[in-house]
Each structure stands twice: as C-alpha cells, then as structure tokens.
Point group: C2
Chain length 119, copies 2
C-alpha cells in the first residue's frame, strides 16, 4: 500500500447540519461512507476518531512511507471524487508531493498542514 | 532520536509585524532561533520551509517513529519554553499521545491537526 487516506469520522463539519435527528451519522461518517468502496489502486481508506482539526472539519489526512503527510479540511461528502483523485496522485508520487497544478482544487485551497517524511 | 520538532522558518506569523525592515528575519526564523540550542534529550530541532499552515503561523510539527504526528499554530518566539517542554513530553510518550493535562497550554489550545502513526 503506497498511501493511507485517514478519514475523521467524528467531524461535525463546518456547514450547518440540517438533519434534525440527533442520532443521524456525523458529517465525518457520511464523508467516509461517500469515499468507501472506491479506493484507487495503492490507497487504503482508514477511519480515524479525531484528527484534531475540529474547527476545520470534515478533515482527512494522507500519509505514506517516505512521503510528506498532508491534512485537508472543510470537506463535505460532495468532495469525495476530488479527494479520491488527489489520493491517487499522492500515492503515485514517491515523496507525496504532487505538482501544484495536478492537485485537485480542494487540495490546493483547503490544506490545513503538511509534515515532512519520517527520517 | 525519539522525536523531531519541525519548525517552519518561512511563517510570517499571525500577529502584525512591527519591524519596519523588510529584510528582517521572518517570524518563523525568529521562532527557530528562540528554540535552538535548548533541544531536550531525544528531540532534534529541524527547520523546514513551509508546513502549509500559513494562515495559522508560526507553525511547528512533532513527529517520530511509531508516533502520532501533531501540528501546532499561532505560535511566537515567546512560546519557546512551552514548545520545548511539550516536545520533551512527546518524545517520552511511546505513541506520541501525551495525557491531556500534561500538555502545555499552547498544545491544548493551538493544535491544528494530528495524523496517525505510520503503519
């Protein structure tokens, strides 16, 4: 596996939640559902409880051996296709750094942080 | 080395910069200078150009083998002592997860994101 796409399932999202049912799945769980079943080759989708980016949810992170790690935020289930396309490009890049113009718009505009590769 | 403290040297910071000299060192470089020379045991301080958290700078990240990685923001050189104390606690925690009450206040309040350990 060349990359892991971590999806925060506890994110409440930044958009108002119009579902009146307090037991309805959280925005993060809905994002995970929208992503699941479509993992590109080389990408494993992994749910995680809290990426500590609560005010910027929904959030996902990409990591992989010898690669920079990235965290993205302010995502919704509607972004699933772009997230998967960005994850595929990340998996294919040896150091995880995808050329700027090849990144999906949400990855260019909604990066929360990146961390250098493990030494 | 049990932990690396990555310090973004290109951060301009979120506070107004009162230095009229456009060639003066950036806030991130000043933060690095405030941290350097005092690395706790097990912590290596490493400058990095851009942690992609520009709107939340100054930013630092902590990472280490088999540990969660963390990114913190809105830091200033005045926070150096707290950052170093938090980095020492992080280095000593096998998975990088320091009990909440043992984290410095800036780490409790100014977390931008965290990423699960490498598999």
């Amino acid at each position: 596996m060349r990359a892991v796409l971590h999806v925060c399932t506890t994110c409440r999202g930044t958009l108002p939640d119009d579902d009146p049912d307090p037991c309805a799945p959280r925005a993060g769980a809905r994002l995970l559902a929208a992503l699941s079943g479509d993992a590109p080759p080389g990408v494993r989708i992994r749910p995680v409880e809290c990426l500590s980016a609560c005010s910027q949810g929904c959030a996902v992170a990409l990591s992989g051996r010898a690669k920079w790690s990235y965290v993205y935020g302010r995502l919704t289930p509607d972004d699933a296709a772009q997230i998967l396309s960005g994850a595929a490009a990340y998996a294919a890049a040896a150091d995880g750094v995808v050329p700027w113009r090849e990144r999906p718009a949400i990855f260019r505009k909604q990066s929360l942080a990146r961390i250098p590769p493990q030494e």
